[in-house]
């Protein structure tokens, strides 16, 4: 299915076709690059997506598909900035508790129906409905939309949700607390609209390709679970004439090495680079091997709960272990994918976040090692009385390599005896969640581009705080940050406390390490959340 953008371009295309068949598809309207005839983008996914229902989807793979199929009030651009989606804009009251969005009048569903404010009201009520029991209902709670928590608990009807369609073009949202970044949260799939008539007609089967109706730049045309899903241009999309990619194919390839082989054979436009292979690929294919920071961290957490080991209650022991980890060796020799070393819990790539000038980050590794020895001796551990503990991680080749490297560093530098244990994923989660460990691997990817998505993890009430670290000061700073207009300083102070107390050992921050075909134009490497939209990509003629 080829679509000509406008008549002028059509004429241009027609004439160039006569002159030179190579330029048949024309050139990019802004960059002027020649466009390929075949505008199909094919990429690898690790696993089958959980769902393409915007209110139900819970995995990254599914969210990528949903972001193409549906469009929310606002979108992100290549740099992660907020740009209009179905809404042309919004206004808010002074204390940021009431948001009013104006919807564009030409937004349509793929069956031709207009997208109206009521579609958002329906979708959002659906997201909190205990009957749908969405695993992402928690997201509705953190948006602070009035009564969300009550409805999820079954204590209020879904119609009590603080979202109203004033008319077809006006959506009014009432929050229970001021939230300066609410509009940013509307780029997340849970807050996308849903087609009521289709869902009511087909029930759980509404997301099947033969039934689905969506309002994004693409429609789902094929789905072979564990094999592929295909989405094609939606001619009803309001901005269809500016969309260049015609077809997007997601291939499920579990094995990353096979995926790399198939990429090399030209079957894929994008795939992940297996750990350790980036330097070689970068040398052989400098145009295609790319690495850029991601909003994820990788750390080890001490069990500081009452059941935790006595030795970790001493901050000197925690600091000594954190200091003796040579992060440079881990990122350069084990991972080798351009990952940044981590000395703070929050990645430096997070917007509006300034890591504190901690002691550990500013000295050399040799100085850190000396300091670590000193601290451990002070804490009473030495050759006659070596520190012993166990550390756990979930089964994976690269987690194992990192754990082995860390335990060797500790053994050589400090004489520490760390016993390694790997566990299958669900067993690992259960063990860590029950505080049945001494030192455990952890990793977290931000839900939004704001430091609180990381730092909330180390607050006392957080359900994700498996190490059960508790600091009254951090709790109060984080509560303050929720409503403060200027948060950067608060987050830096929280990180300074973390550096001082060392409840976790940050190891590295993730990087997106991809092989991306050089004919793919406009991949948003600067969007740290990697919220990409196929409608913004294009294929360059080779």
């Amino acid at each position: 299915m080829k679509h000509i953008r406008n008549s002028a371009l059509a004429t241009l295309v027609a004439t160039t076709m006569l002159a030179s068949p190579v330029l048949a598809a024309g050139t990019h309207p802004t960059t002027g690059e020649p466009l390929a005839d075949d505008q199909t983008f094919t990429y690898r996914v690790l696993d089958e997506h959980s769902s393409v229902d915007p209110q139900v989807v819970e995995d990254v793979t599914g969210a990528e598909v949903v972001r193409d199929l549906f469009e929310g009030l606002m979108n992100q651009d290549e740099d992660g900035n907020l740009v209009p989606g179905v809404a042309t804009g919004f206004t808010t009251n002074d204390d940021k508790t009431v948001y009013t969005f104006t919807l564009r009048d030409n937004a349509k569903w793929s069956n031709g129906d207009p997208v109206v404010a009521g579609d958002f009201v329906y979708a959002w009520q659906r997201a909190v409905d205990p009957e749908l029991s969405s695993p992402y209902a928690w997201y509705m709670e953190i948006t602070s939309i009035e009564n969300a928590a009550k409805i999820i608990a079954g204590d209020a009807p879904i119609t009590d949700l603080g979202v109203k369609a004033i008319d077809d073009r006006t959506l009014e949202i009432t929050l229970s607390a001021p939230l300066p970044y609410f509009a940013t949260m509307t780029t997340h799939s849970t807050l996308f609209p849903a087609p009521r008539s289709v869902i009511e007609a087909h029930g759980a089967d509404w997301t099947k390709p033969e039934n689905i109706v969506s309002n994004g730049a693409y429609v789902l045309t094929e789905h072979l679970p564990n094999e592929r899903s295909v989405r094609e241009r939606n001619p009803m999309y309001w901005d269809n004439e500016n969309t260049i990619i015609d077809k997007v194919v997601a291939l499920v390839i579990n094995d990353e090495n096979v995926a790399l082989t198939r990429y090399m054979a030209g079957e894929l436009d994008r795939t992940e680079v297996p750990a350790g292979q980036f330097p070689r690929l970068k040398e052989e294919h400098p145009e295609e091997a790319i690495s850029f920071p991601r909003l994820c961290n990788y750390y080890y957490t001490f069990n500081l709960s009452n059941d935790g080991p006595e030795q970790f209650k001493d901050v000197r022991v925690r600091k000594a272990l954190a200091m003796a980890v040579d992060r440079k060796i881990i990122v350069e020799n084990v991972l080798a994918g351009g990952q940044p070393e981590a000395y703070s819990f929050t990645p430096a790539a997070v917007a509006n976040f300034e890591p504190p000038a901690s002691e550990m980050a500013s000295i050399t590794q040799a100085e850190r090692d000396a300091k670590a020895k000193e601290l451990l001796a002070e804490a009473g551990y030495g050759p006659d009385n070596p520190l012993k503990f166990s550390m756990i991680y979930n089964t994976s080749e690269s987690h194992k390599k990192i754990a082995v490297a860390m335990s060797q560093m500790w053994k050589q530098k400090l004489g520490v005896e760390a016993e390694l244990g790997n566990m299958e994923w669900k067993v690992f989660l259960e063990t860590r969640g029950n505080q049945d460990f001494e030192l455990a691997r952890g990793a977290w990817c931000g839900d939004y581009n704001e430091a609180s998505t990381f730092l909330d993890l180390l607050t006392t009430p957080s359900g994700y705080n498996d190490g059960k670290f508790s600091s009254a000061e951090i709790d109060s700073l984080m509560t303050q940050a929720r409503t403060a207009s200027e948060t950067s300083d608060l987050y830096t102070r929280v990180e300074a406390i973390i550096a001082q107390e060392q409840p976790v050992i940050p190891i590295y921050h993730y990087a997106g390490v991809y092989m991306l075909d050089s004919d793919v134009g406009n991949w948003p490497v600067n969007n740290v959340e990697q919220n990409w939209y196929s409608k913004n990509l294009y294929k360059i003629a080779e």
């Binding site: 205990p130 695993p135 928690w138 089967d205 564990n226 082989t261």
Partner: protein, 307 residues
Amino acid sequence: MLGYSIRRLLAAIPTLLLLIAASFVLIQVAPGGPFTSERPLPPQVLANIEARYGLDQPMWKQFWDYLYNIVFHFDFGPSFKFKDRDVNDIIAQGFPISLTYGFLSFLAATSVGVTLGVAAAIRHNTWIDYFAVSLGIAAQALPNFIMGPILILVFTLYLGWLPGGGWNGGAWPYLIMPVIALSTSYMGSIARITRSSMLEVLNSNYIRTARAKGIPERQIIWKHAMKPTLLPVVSYLGPVFVYVLTGSVFVDIYFSTGGLGQAYVGSALSRDYSVLLGVTILYGGLTVLVNLITDLAYAWFDPKIRY
């Protein structure tokens, strides 16, 4: 024989019930549940989900409801992980794929394996024998998780002859590598079993008698030696048939075929109870059925066996 078959099928019912009950208990005993995740769900959200899937009910009630839905509605329940699909859907989509490449691999392994084995036995201690034996050992020794990536490397990347994976409705270019990868090691085993069985048969008294009577060698082999030779092969083939269908997870992983093997292993890892149970029942039923067919085949191959 009909009476025997009916008796066997009736006996399968308690076997399957026991299998379902054991699987039902075992998967729930395994640490972690379908909704255990890195981001633990808030208690209220988790409670809503558990209520929706009936996981808040006592275990006996869950078990009863599960059986009831299977027997009266042939409904194996919704998938806990793939929220848009139910177990019937997943099996209906994945099983025909596994069955297709599994059956083709079975045919390939059997035909090539038996041919190699017979050729090796007839030309005992000649280069044909040595060649067939080395090939059989090599095929058996090469693990399929190494074979898969190597095939893709050679046929997709270096030669560019075949697509590196996918299913595409079972079009033949997509079938070749999965079938080679899946059949090779079984082919090796079948060749070795056939060879030694054939050698034994050819050394038996009645074959010697037949030779003494001057019956042509070709007739001796095809008419007199073949059937008894195949008896041990057939007892090996029964389980192989189930294996090529169940043990095909590596094919699904390396060749992205979308078969049931991947869904099965994936469901165990994600604690997708209903999918895991559904596929276990399917494979259990299949095992019972194939065992019966194997036993019936014995009777055809060996006149001493009668039911």
